[in-house]
Symmetry: C2
């Protein structure tokens, strides 16, 4: 997605060779027009996959999930990082270790919202180590649902998340794949056109 890559170059801040700040348009302040285009692009790719549910994790995946689910015409579910007071005890649960925060937390999804009848597309804003995504994939597995794939806005290809998903045979569709970055040289993208990005 050319417009997204351009936005990353123009407004993303490379704080180190691992930390990219995109909170002016993606995950703190959000540009709804860009997110809508991202949603359309992701939905287009999965239009013929029989998706019944889009899933994500709170908080920064929620607007992405909304945009994709709107186009596909299906509900979305966001995994919770903290048990809600109104949540029932019938929960799918997975423990997740956050590398950035260096702490373990639990993702939960209420059982009525995910079943063996579902075909799921998981979306999120950024794929780095993929810890939270793998927790959500575990929940889809626990429910006996079919996982159609994982789609992210930005993939940091030099971190381990993409390889872990590849090794598990899970199709990944990333709209912008960053091969390398540094505060001095900025962001470099994986050399590929949009079509090649989805071929594995």
């Amino acid at each position: 997605m050319q417009r997204l890559r351009q936005r990353i170059c123009e407004q993303g801040l490379v704080l180190s060779d691992r930390v990219l700040k995109v909170d002016s348009f993606l995950n703190h302040q959000v540009d709804p027009a860009l997110i809508s285009e991202i949603g359309k692009t992701m939905a287009e790719r999965y239009r013929h996959e029989g998706i019944t549910k889009v899933m994500t994790i709170e908080a920064s995946g929620i607007h992405i999930a909304f945009a994709v689910a709107s186009v596909l015409g299906v509900p979305f579910v966001y995994g919770k990082k903290k048990k809600a007071t109104t949540q029932s005890d019938e929960l799918y649960r997975r423990s997740v270790y956050s590398y950035t925060r260096q702490e373990t937390y639990e993702i939960t999804v209420s059982k009525p919202f995910l079943s063996v009848a579902d075909t799921v597309l998981i979306v999120d804003d950024i794929l780095a180590e993929g810890a939270a995504l793998n927790g959500l994939i575990g929940i889809v597995h626990d429910a006996g649902a079919r996982l159609a794939g994982v789609s992210v806005v930005i993939e940091k290809s030099f971190q381990s998340g993409r390889k872990t998903l590849d090794d598990a045979g899970i199709p990944v569709y990333a709209l912008a794949r960053i091969s390398k970055m540094s505060p001095e040289t900025g962001v470099e993208f994986v050399h590929e056109n949009d079509e090649e990005a989805v071929v594995r």
Copy 2:
């Protein structure tokens, strides 16, 4: 909003005279078509207010904010409950006491995303005691921005949040106002038509 009230009656679960579970369509599993309609309805009300930014709090306000901001054609910002690793130290901060969780947490917004030049619409899913909303209102105040109003999907009118906002002179637009509820008798709405709901 008739369709919303109907949805609350049909799919909402009244767990006690204070706790309403709407997680099958509003704040865990989400129906994007309903949220889009909610966004259009809220945006319509504020179309001529010169809104430059929609604000909410993670996580369950994010899809509401996206839907409204999309129609108004402005960015939205979600207040964070936990400081992100990429967040700068230039933050607006307010402490919030959560009645449901019985704990205090901090809402933060990065300073570059809110300024004296902004006219803000604050949105959220549910107005109960209004603690988180008041934290966000404090942040809008700290930034010297103009607050056009607060709009929520569901207001539990029997809790203190609405009165606090009324007393502070802040216009509130709630799409469904619940006057009373119990597991035995279900949900009762404030008697008014949609037009009256916004008159204070």
